[in-house]
Symmetry: C2
Subunit: 469 residues, 2 copies
């Protein structure tokens, strides 16, 4: 019988690592949006130098959680403190397993006392949908999954459009479209602004390391809002550059968020075993791909915890209980063993890899610019001089602003900023993944660097989680 | 008053070269189709090693020419011989100006005595629509323009779907979907085959240098045909790889067709002057972009003639008259001054260019893989040791099959295969084009090579125009 649940898939496969490393789902793309509007170098430059427009309507799931117990439900399934979660605020919401492993993360907005909007990758959506079905919660959930990766000319509709405008010149655009100064919205707070004849919600954000606003509303308004924003930029004399799919995901390299931790849901019993029965065989957790040089028989070796990602400072320790609390208390007591860093790749080693694609024979794994990731979750070995693995690289990309290939990941605590390590690039054997050509492995020297790497992000995000890692 | 025609644009600008070199239209993309299905290296490899599926439903204009004078009308506006143009044949149709400059090219199919279907870039469509309006022809034209470059989730509809299947393993797929051996269709001939429950027209073709079939039919059948083809490949045990937008245009590097000559319509009086009044200011000829290091005040320096592109052997000299005949006779008598070649780029010089994007300051023009073109028409200077321009590079791309960056273009007759010349990469000044970042120029050594470059194409296309250049 064909597998219908993740657990079926795991039972058939013997080892889920093999399934995920051989997934045929293809690259994890930024869907629907054009690859480039101008070109990816200029689009990257815009968020640093002028202003950029991100169309975020398509690449994320949205979950709406409503009902008398909405806040209680979410507080129980996420690590975050909810005591300071007033109306019109947003948080970076992180659920973990009972064992304390990160499942994923969403941006969560509180629209009403009893209504929250969550936006992010599938693992958190799926976990919350399961949790509502599994527990006894007086909540209503609505799920709008991310858009298809390859619509091929078919129409794509969403619940909401979602735009983000960022960069040093962004404020002039906001004032022009609002018809006057905009409210002084604090970081990760929401207020209402005017865009033409529409009143829209705006979140103060800054993904790429420059301040900005994220606005959203009914999808039917998308074209109107888009053209009003573009006109406001022209009226303000600002070069607002639309960002395409190729540049988009690289903004996180400069700001330091890791979008793609493998959800730690493949092990554990009790609720976790039930979750694996609940998860469909066609869902992200069963169908997604692991790419990279790190191969372990033990799926848990791919997991991370909130301390390692720098999320520990917003754990709601005062909450009576939440899933994973005991495990996190134990990690806290013992001290986390790894920390988040940026890896700065050695130029000459990159050129060596590229040069191999100009020779006959099996080349090194191609480094695609600006986004070389080839799976839903990446895991590349980072080793010290003795060849011992001391870190895991988890998200790669080239930054034209930094003139550098960077990756985000975790290293053992004794690794220091400035250390030069070796990243193994490419997989040890040919897998079933369609996203990679047959290749051999390369060694790329990487210098351990702070997160966020961008000095702008470091300076402007003093109150953000991104600087706390 | 705003310019409404190409002529208005030219009158305002003084020099149309400046307009086209500063166009803000962006890259000339392969629209609607996903950037990658698997990855562009594997997609390129498929047309050489197994089989590839091209979705050509979106990137070209289609023009249907019908009516009592359809054949006469087309014969008068193209250089091709029509004497051997029976039913169910196709040709590579090339119109030129009265001065003998290439306007563009289409693939033309004869469906009935009085009905032709033409597929290709806008310049030929526009020219034919003008010609029908300008002359006194008893013809009916229907024009289905190419799909929008950035549909952003809106639905895109066309008159016809159009798929091409190619590669050494393609025949097994055809036989499986046809339910038995397919007719022995000669190159550039059309016959009918079965795809599931549909009878469809199939053209024997081979764009990427490997034999194959192009099939088309009503757009509403697209999903059915697509899934039937994919199923037939699975049933036949063939790894049929879908080709995405990033790899698609590079197939021509191996087979040797230059898709993007600048239409030679910006000069000449009489009919040409009337054409420039007819052409809208928003059409390809007025809004498109010229990119590259070759800058001349004289737009005619960007033109090519059919001899230079290797199309001379199918000129219909026996036709009483056709537009451009006298000019072509003169060129023939004098001998063409240039010929088509492939330029094989030097690896070390490419690496030098890439290395500059890992340093602060102004880099060399980024070479995007696999398709570095950044305009509707490319014109890069190719010079000899003394710095004298002896050729023009017109279409670029990296071939994973050849492990080489290649470009197609024309060189003076005295240049020989094996000569090493220097290609100037990047523009001498910053233009208004959105498709390129600020950059400096690089010198890239190129070795003059035959066209087609691919040995497979050379061997398998003995009866095609591609080998005659």
């Amino acid at each position: 019988m064909a597998a219908t649940s993740l657990q079926d898939v795991m039972d058939e496969a013997g080892n889920i690592v093999d399934v995920l490393r051989n997934s045929k789902i293809g690259m994890y793309v930024y869907p629907v949006v054009a690859p480039e509007f101008s070109n990816w170098r200029v689009e990257q430059e815009a968020w640093r130098k002028t202003a950029v427009l991100f169309d975020q309507s398509h690449h994320m799931d949205e979950v709406i959680v409503e009902g008398p117990q909405a806040a209680e439900f979410l507080a129980h399934h996420g690590i975050n403190s909810f005591s300071n979660f007033g109306l019109n605020r947003a948080k970076h919401y992180v659920p973990v397993t009972p064992a304390g492993h990160v499942i994923g993360d969403h941006i969560i907005f509180r629209e009403r006392e009893d209504k929250f909007v969550l936006v992010g990758r599938a693992p958190t959506s799926n976990w919350l949908m399961f949790a509502a079905a599994y527990g006894n919660w007086n909540v209503r959930l609505r799920h709008d999954p991310r858009s298809p990766s390859r619509p091929e000319g078919e129409r794509v509709l969403r619940e909401h459009y979602r735009f983000q405008i960022q960069g040093p010149d962004a404020t002039a655009i906001f004032e022009k479209m609002n018809g006057g100064p905009i409210p002084d919205i604090k970081f990760f707070h929401v207020d209402w602004i005017n865009i033409g004849s529409k009143k829209v919600q705006a979140l103060r954000h800054g993904m790429s390391g420059a301040p900005g606003l994220e606005v959203w509303g009914p999808y039917k308004d998308k074209d109107y809002i888009h053209s009003t924003i573009m006109q406001a930029a022209r009226d303000a004399g600002v070069n607002l550059v639309q960002c395409g799919a190729r540049a988009y995901s690289t903004n996180t390299l400069e700001s330091g968020w890791i979008p793609s931790p493998l959800p730690g849901i493949y092990s554990g019993d009790g609720m976790m075993a039930d979750y694996r029965q609940w998860l469909g065989a066609d869902m992200y957790e069963a169908a997604g791909a692991i790419g990279g040089s790190f191969v372990s028989d033990n799926i848990e070796d791919y997991y991370v915890n909130p301390f390692e990602l720098g999320y520990d400072f917003y754990i709601g320790w005062k909450k009576d209980d939440f899933i994973g609390k005991a495990a996190l208390e134990k990690i806290k007591a013992e001290g986390a063993k790894r920390k988040k860093v940026t890896f700065e790749w050695n130029r000459d080693d990159i050129l060596k890899v590229i040069a191999s694609s100009f020779e006959q024979g099996t080349p090194y794994k191609w480094i695609d610019f600006p986004q070389p990731n080839y799976a839903s979750s990446s895991a590349d070995m980072v080793c010290d001089d003795s060849g011992k693995m001391v870190g895991m690289s988890m998200f790669n990309g080239y930054s034209f602003n930094e003139r550098c290939m960077l990756s985000l990941g975790v290293v053992n605590n004794d690794v220091q900023v400035g250390d030069v390590l070796t990243l193994k690039w490419g997989e040890p054997e040919t897998t079933g993944k369609t996203s990679t050509e047959v290749h051999k492995q390369a060694e790329i020297r990487v210098r351990v660097s702070p997160t966020p790497y961008s000095s702008e992000a470091r300076e402007n995000y003093a109150d953000s989680w991104r600087t706390k890692s």
